[in-house]
Amino acid sequence: MEATEQAPLDVEAIRADFPILEREVADGRDLVYLDNAATSQTPDQVVDAIADYYRRYNSNVHRGLHELSQEASVAYEDAHDKLAEFVGGEDREEMVFTKNTTEAENLVAFAWGLNELGPGDEVVLTQMEHHASLVTWQQVAEKTGAEVKYIPITDEGYLDMDAAAEMITEDTQLVNVVHVSNTLGTVNPVGDLADIAHDHDAFIFVDGAQAAPTRPVDVQEIDADFYAFSGHKMLGPTGIGCLYGKRHLLEAMEPYLYGGMMIKKVTYEDSTWNDLPWKFEAGTPVIAQGVALAEAVDYIEDVGMEAIQAHEEELTEYAYDRLTETGDVDVYGPPGDDRGAVVSFNVDGIHAHDLSSILNDYGVAIRAGDHCTQPLHDTLGVAASARASFYLYNTREEVDALVDAVDEARDIFA
């Protein structure tokens, strides 16, 4: 397929690194993969990094025992530096590897929330939070007696910042906000929210699952206290997520999981904790995944994050315009020229699941459902939506394939 004119990316060359995109599905149709907000595809370079780890230096990471372990340890530790740097953190001590974004949320909920929150305290979320944070803080509130509040969204799908300014008060201990909404595509003003939170001595946790893969992120510029994202959404493997945390906060926090590796000295009576970030990585950690994720960061940086963002914005706007051409499609969230690379929509008279079943027949892979934002779908007044989401290897032709397949669905349901 040809690269788009406006896009500075060499999409053709990029696609060559992703053999899965050559795959056929649905009895011989070209795969059109538009479910990137759920999970991105993995380039050969990253697959090779995993294979190379297992072929050459697979071992546990206890430094200095033997040569393989030495190599694995260095690679694993360096991966922390790379990921810290990727989002603007200072060094490895501020970068904890977890299983995914969800576990990063839970880490802070367990290590900080359950220990520090109590009746009278408030945690402020947004109406567009993913279940990863929403369910987690709901549970912390239930267990501690704290209260959860939700910053409402406007009709256009932006956060109501006036309401935010009123809802965040002296009682607020934590603000948890999604950086880019995985349903609405809204890019939230996380820096402004951080300022409001800090004015009231509250912490801010930014859910960067959709933002870190798609735009330059600088946690220091945002002044985020915590920032979480998932490897599998940014060309990396499954099984690894990242939690950036300000050093002094991570230092003050209790561990989340206990066991080997996270300790310094253990007696029958008591134990002391290892240095950051290892204090939060109990047991044998995600070594292969960490090394591979560092490779994914290299890949992204080689292509250039600004170029990736520009490419996605162009595709997203094009998809928004094409989908809304006919007037029988509701797209949720901000206008096409002001959103992240997701477009959630419903076609009049066609349930999202029926639509996605039919699209699948044309090789087009999208997500249909509530995208782990059930309360938000309630707010939107729909049970489900279809969602197309784009990444660096997608093309305008693929957007056209999506729109054509939607047309076919219209014909079937007409």
């Binding site: 649905a26 349930h351 029926d354 039919i358 699948n360 459902g369 049970a383 489900a384 076919e408």
Partner: protein, 140 residues
């Protein structure tokens, strides 16, 4: 054409667009509702039994959701009158798929069988054979 679009045969679409027995019964013997979290499908069935206490006289349903779940409910509502609760109890997934007359992809089986599960659970609760639950879900 592969399986998915094959699901949307005329018969399915017809029942989806013009659901039979949609609405409420004035005096149902029992009612029960169900939910399919994977598609967000919702169905509520009213069932009226004959004086023998075991044969279905009439049913009505209301619901919202994907074409497969709603067509399945509509078709089941035509099939149920005249059946005994024991016969309803014996219905299984294959009966529902036969009734639909299309090949349902694995991801959509839950949509297809929701109607059957709702009526079966309602009947069991009515007969005192199952504990009262507010709502049947396809995840059980």
């Amino acid at each position: 054409m592969s399986m998915g679009s094959d699901m949307y045969r005329q018969q399915i679409l017809d029942h989806y667009r013009n659901p039979r027995n949609q609405g409420e019964l004035p005096e149902p013997t029992f009612s029960h509702e169900g939910y399919n979290p994977s598609c967000g499908d919702e169905l509520e069935f009213d069932v009226e039994l004959r004086d023998d206490g075991e044969t279905i006289e009439r049913v009505a349903f209301r619901g919202e959701g994907c074409a497969i779940s709603q067509a399945s409910a509509s078709m089941l509502s035509e099939k149920l009158p005249g059946m005994t609760l024991d016969e309803v109890d014996e219905l299984d997934r294959d009966d529902v798929l036969d009734m639909l007359g299309v090949e349902v992809t694995p991801m959509r089986i839950k949509c297809a069988v929701l109607s059957e599960k709702v009526v079966q659970d309602g009947a069991e609760i009515y007969a005192g054979e199952a504990d009262e639950v507010d709502q049947t879900t396809t995840e059980d």
